[in-house]
Symmetry: C4
């Protein structure tokens, strides 16, 4: 069982070589957002960029595209067909699959709604995604209806449920989940062959091969909307740079909390907007890079 | 009579436990904004988040929703029916009541206009709101037509008039209000069973049970549009975290001024945008948290 | 002849009393912006707020209103009729005059275009404005067709031409203007009864009663689009707080340059966005306030 | 062969004289952006402003104009006819040529797409542009179909391909380009009479008269979307201030990397958004200005 700290993770964070360019740093595709929930999409894209993704492209219901073009500058947007409720429509599946064909990672779920046609889209993505994928929020809830779907995936999956979503996934209660965090995460991970990130105090990361990690970073000021979205983006950003799912998840989880600690650790136990910690992410990554160089 | 200071308030500001999550930190719903007045809605939502609300959802006239999706990232938006003047319509009442059913606080009023149908909406909310509510600005003016409406409320109300609005509430003059700030606030509070925040230099907070507080913080650089909106959001944010109305109001009022003092106290007596003080709110809260921990 | 410096201006900058509120700090109305030129409107509103205006309301062609609602938060917007070219239409005149009836200052001109119907609007405003007004950019160019219009104004006017606009105003050349900056400004000011701000290195401020000032602040990094707009807003902000036109112009001009010096003086002679200096305005004002308090 | 450093470049960076104004600092016109790619347009405009361009005007497909009005404040926008794919249409050519007639520089290419009608627009611009022009991204790809087009230009051109685009330009492979960076750049520059900036580690700048420079600045955190766009804007900004193409390119390339080093050099090798380095550009320019003054 790995205890996630600067020391235990720095070996994985190689300073990038001088010849690195945007084409070699990974292109992350994101499916997120619906009417009223465009902030989630924004934070995923920013999170992916902050850990070093070379390029980020957001699939967004077409009518919301102008909003995201305003909110994002370095990330690109890609308008897709939408349901009458301004959520992603299953008609977008072929386009997304084609676009993702030569990309390095996909992140899907936050703020996409549980609209039946959006569910079909997520199910199609799980079965056919041509690259590793992070599933969060609504995508996790969609999966909880028929978790066996996860076994159909051709590519590695990372799921990032909070305790309530984890309870839905196993058809149990939040209490059961919280009293058996490590067991629940490990079991689900093994059974369905996915990397499982069980969020909450002392986030657990479990890989299907049995590897297990517990996070040491983070603080209560992270208890706010949007925090999970930034984490999803960060894990996807590491996947995009070629990290295998377990390592991408461990790095995302730890650096996410460590950036929040850097920003807010000594300040207060509340009141940190999710977007604030993003600015501190590179400092934390650099700390790991330098630690590695020294050892 | 309580004099609001770091010392007198720190006992109420417990550092949050490590297991705090967005679901346990309160969900604040906000009704604010109409054409030309979307800044008010923005500042309320940001204020609620800065004091630690776990989630914030803004009800906004549907045609203005894209504007607010751009302006807000951590908060979510919820488009509602609108009047021909792009203000909140009474047709939104059922949706708002249903949504608020399992939420912890509501804030309503800034920038919603005095449109007759918007008035009906506010009146309906006061009578039927299923959670504590802060009423400010246009909502206060609406109340001033028939203050007896306040007695119908099933849940605690906090009203935050400035002296002009207070005068309207009691059918008096600003001069009367200003010459008898404490008496006016106390009387109204007792008579109508609401927590009353009378803004202006030395803001007064009066509870229906006779508790009374006077604020020590703040400075003249706060004399600008949007300041009251940030306060409304902050009080709602504390309500959402489970503080009873009088304490929520005292904390909001004091921290609002103290954040402005921190940002601008030694700088100048003018020129501070309302959004600037928000960044200083967590520092002030943290100061109170640490003071409490030491004593 | 007054040399504008910290020392010569501090006597005019009284720290505001503790009871100052947004209603007593002046409400500035702004007419600015057309398609492609919404940045000008933004900067005027921000400039007015940064010197302490209590409230700011922007009149904006209706189709552009959503853009400005996004760009501004503390200022309010007021959509007005527009020409087919998305510029302010003369049909807006009655509404603007009525709204401005109880306001303290108007700023008009930047980015409104020279559309014939917009010209009619400006001409109507000059003749009928119910409060002091700053005219800049397109409004100055419009005036230059028939400067006698200025004599019809019922309220004090401040004009803020750059040398090219000044040349148009007097039907001369830029060279003539630049070789006789003080004389040109003084003469125009006396002849038309307006306060004249002739921009450029060593900005000149001339009052119709013969008072004259030359600015000492500023640097070449201010040579960029939008700088004039921030100045217009700052002068309007001081007018709104009750300063007479000559003093408002002197304070605006000097503090504008001093804020730019504070931000960029030791940095470089280029590359400062106009919006950057706004953050430094309160620091400069505070310096003057403290200087006054000491003497 | 010039090695681009503070020392070798400072001779070219004269502190601007006190009388500099926006009309004498150059007006840069930009053609960039299509649906999903408005960030590119944003970054070019900001880049041009950050190196000191007096004015910046962006040509943008009309339906995207509101997005850019929100994203930009100091720069102006100019809506142009668009293709059904929301990309710039060739129908815009006459307007652009007329507008650019008295401007100092044009930048074209990023995010405009390869739509056939957009290609026609770019080809028309190359043949007829009335001022120096920077071609990047999609414009480079368009040129690669018929590079002889470059010989028709009446005004100096700067091309800024990354290795992949360079390969397309010469009909070769990325490997060939990377193994012969200097030769490839020099040859293309001479053959087509353009200034060639071959991006990547140790960016090469080649002038048609044989002058050659290699860049010393920059770091791997620049490997992300939008970085090239900021560079395009910076080169155009120097062109606009009257620098000849080779010097404009050398200054843009070096300062771009040096700003990134200043911001991120000691921080991390990943996670810097392109917009972040813009804030450091003036500091780097100032360093060069002061170095020049001392020598």
């Amino acid at each position: 069982r790995r205890w996630l700290t600067d020391e235990s993770l720095s070996a994985w964070v190689e300073p990038r070589p001088v010849g690195t360019h945007k084409g070699s740093a990974g292109h992350v595709a994101v499916l997120s957002g619906s009417v009223g929930k465009t902030g989630a999409a924004t934070l995923i894209c920013l999170g992916a960029g902050r850990v070093g993704a070379g390029l980020v492209t957001l699939f967004i219901p077409a009518s919301l595209n102008p909003i995201l073009e305003v909110k994002l500058t370095e990330a690109m947007t890609y308008p897709i067909p939408e349901t009458p409720g301004q959520t992603p429509a299953s008609a977008a599946l072929p386009e997304i699959l084609e676009f993702a064909g030569d990309k390095q990672a996909l992140a899907a779920g936050p703020g996409i709604s549980l609209h039946p046609d959006t569910q079909r889209l997520v199910e199609g993505l799980i079965a056919q995604a041509p690259c590793p994928m992070v599933l969060d929020a609504d995508a996790v809830t969609i999966v909880s209806r028929t978790p066996d779907l996860l076994k159909k995936a051709r590519q590695p999956l990372v799921l990032t449920p909070h305790p309530g979503e984890m309870a839905r996934l196993i058809g149990g209660t939040v209490q059961t989940v919280q009293e058996n965090r490590i067991e629940v995460a490990s079991e689900f991970s093994r059974k369905y062959g996915v990397t499982l990130v069980l969020k909450g105090f002392r986030t657990v990361v479990a890989a299907p091969d049995g590897r297990l990690a517990v996070n040491s970073s983070g603080n209560p000021a992270m208890a706010g909307g949007g925090m999970g979205d930034t984490l999803t983006g960060m894990i996807a950003g590491f996947l995009g740079q070629g990290y295998e799912p377990y390592r991408a998840a461990c790095l995302g989880v730890y650096i996410h909390g460590a950036a929040a600690d850097r920003r807010f650790g000594g300040v207060a136990t509340r009141g940190m907007p999710a977007s604030d910690l993003l600015d501190d992410v590179p400092e934390v990554i650099g700390r790991l890079e330098r630690l590695r160089s020294r050892s």
